[in-house]
């Protein structure tokens, strides 16, 4: 079918580069717009929470950041797996482009988690399953990125970090479960972060809006980064859409 051929065409970096370039502004604009609406809903429409007062408003960034951090790790691992299976360069580039954004969201989830925990639990840090998993997730993002930067050969760096990303995907659920188990043993803080069913519908709407906004932001940033990666990796042909003709002339004149 014709659509199938179209998709295949974009699996090559040369074709993907301009496509990504066209998509980035759209994703970025919608992300900013949704973030604006989400923040308005979060601060001006959503009511004050009974128990937590205004502090609960942190969840409008915390929950989306935490979701994105986990989700992006899985997406990164999927790209890594596709890259290993099909030996596709674009997949490895995508995996490379996702890692920094995922790590940033993990860091933000930890930071905002601490900001939420201090007024709510009275402690900056609690060893509950969610926070611990996030922390380990941050280490794994760091591992993926460090492994990549310490290997000079691009092909080997791609594949080695892919293997580690895939191993990590098995690890995170096990950690989540094990810390939960450990907490029941130590009768520690088994506090739930999500306000769950008690949440007013406007709160939920604001949170979902922010999540979608973060999602679109991630897509825009990752596409921009994958374009950078493509330029960095290809020494010869330029897919640079900034005046390629001039470069051509200079080369010929030389």
């Amino acid at each position: 079918m014709s659509t199938g051929i179209n998709w295949l065409k974009y699996s090559s970096p040369q074709a993907f580069y301009p496509l990504a370039g066209h998509l980035i502004p759209w994703f970025a604009c919608v992300a900013v717009a949704l973030m604006g609406v989400g923040l308005y809903m979060g601060f001006f429409v959503a009511p004050t929470d009974f128990q937590q007062g205004e502090a609960y408003r942190i969840i409008f960034v915390h929950v989306p950041a935490a979701w994105m951090s986990m989700f992006l790790y899985v997406v990164m691992a999927v790209w890594a797996g596709i890259g290993m299976g099909l030996n596709a360069r674009l997949s490895f580039m995508m995996a490379q482009a996702i890692a920094p954004t995922g790590a940033m969201f993990t860091f933000l989830a930890l930071l905002t988690g601490a900001m939420w925990g201090k007024p709510t639990w009275g402690a900056w840090w609690v060893w509950d399953a969610r926070l611990t998993s996030e922390l380990i997730l941050l280490f794994q993002y760091a591992g993926v990125m460090l492994l990549r930067t310490s290997i000079d050969d691009v092909r080997r760096a791609d594949r080695a970090s892919a293997v580690f990303a895939l191993v990590g995907v098995v690890n995170v659920p096990i950690i989540y479960f094990s810390v939960q188990w450990w907490n029941t043993l130590h009768q520690g803080a088994s506090v739930s972060m999500a306000t769950g069913s008690k949440m007013a519908s406007t709160m939920l709407t604001a949170m979902l809006l922010m999540t979608v906004a973060f999602w679109l932001y991630s897509i825009a940033v990752i596409l921009a980064r994958v374009r950078c990666v493509m330029i960095e990796r290809e020494s010869s042909p330029v897919w640079n859409d900034e005046k390629p003709a001039v470069i051509q002339e200079t080369v010929e004149a030389r």
Partner: protein, 61 residues
């Protein structure tokens, strides 16, 4: 509208420090990421242009 005044809004019922730190940190991280990408792209493009003009003839096998 639930905020009586701007100061009430910024106080966030006494939790202003926590709430605003979270939101500002998130915003800063995002802005920083976008700026870093911008610079990375500029650097990569410049390097590529330099490589093209400098003419590395290694590619001819």
């Amino acid at each position: 509208m639930q905020w009586g005044s701007a100061s009430e809004f910024f106080a966030m019922g006494g939790y202003g420090l926590y709430v605003w730190t979270s939101f500002v940190a998130t915003a800063l991280c995002m802005v920083w990421e976008v700026l870093a990408l911008w610079r990375r792209r500029a650097a990569a493009c410049a390097e590529q242009r330099a490589a093209l003009l400098g003419g590395t003839d290694e590619t001819t096998a």
